[in-house]
């Protein structure tokens, strides 16, 4: 049973990676969304920010829940904007997109990692060092996913391309 599941997972992984490699050979970034999605993403972000502002002004029972829900939808909107095609999606735009992805990944990860160290350093100077390293589980999950996926895809692309 374990062998069958392993084989199925291995076949699925190979199939997905093969498709990704084919995308890369054709000079494509990812299966991008239509250009109109950009405006839907902007709309989702704007609506979420406005709703969050209104919710923050009211101290209801579920204020915190709705605030975090709005924050989540701001991220959804930003992600839609990220994956939306440009009006003239040609090879120059695709290369710029690759470059932007790379910069966002490296600088984003670096900033997040440094922020934590800076906070701890300032706290230690002020002699307010906490008993534990207050590590948010979702923070760890996000950063480790990015880094793990990067390392995995880099090795796979090196072998297949």
């Amino acid at each position: 049973m374990f062998v069958i599941i392993t084989n199925i997972l291995y076949a699925m992984k190979n199939s997905i990676l093969k498709k990704l490699c084919e995308f890369d050979k054709k000079g494509l970034v990812f299966p991008l969304l239509p250009a109109s999605i950009l405006w839907i993403g902007i709309g989702v972000c704007t609506f979420s920010i406005l709703t969050m502002t209104i919710v923050a002004a009211q101290a209801g029972d579920h204020a915190l829940f709705f605030k975090e829900l709005c924050m989540h939808f701001i991220l959804v909107g930003l992600f839609m904007m990220t994956l939306a095609k440009d009006k003239h999606e040609d090879e120059r735009i695709k290369r710029l997109r690759y470059r932007a992805f790379a910069f966002a990944f490296v600088l984003g990860t670096f900033t997040l990692l440094m922020m934590r160290i800076v906070v701890v350093t300032i706290n230690s100077i002020k002699d307010e060092l906490p008993q534990e390293w207050e590590y948010n589980q979702s923070f760890f999950f996000i950063i480790s996913s990015y880094l793990f996926y990067y390392l995995m895809y880099f090795q796979v692309f090196k072998k297949q391309l």
Binding site: G27, H88, D90, E91, R92, I93, R95
Partner: protein, 67 residues
């Protein structure tokens, strides 16, 4: 790497928009190539070569700094 895209375009009496439409890119891409801000892919270089009916080496020329 320098290029003679604007010269070839002038020889063939084409403006940037017409060239862009002929090879399936945006006008901004042609502008970036002519200003040496963007080096096109092999596919795009070959498309230009076919359109202008000259070898790729006549459009894109390596400089000493590229070696």
């Amino acid at each position: 790497m320098k290029n003679t895209v604007h010269v070839q375009r002038a020889i063939h009496h084409m403006n940037q928009t017409e060239l862009a439409q002929a090879i399936g890119v945006s006008r901004q891409t042609i502008s970036s190539i002519e200003k040496n801000r963007y080096v096109p892919s092999t596919v795009l270089a070959l498309k230009m070569s076919r359109l202008f009916k000259v070898p790729v080496e006549d459009i894109f020329i390596l400089e000493e700094s590229d070696e």
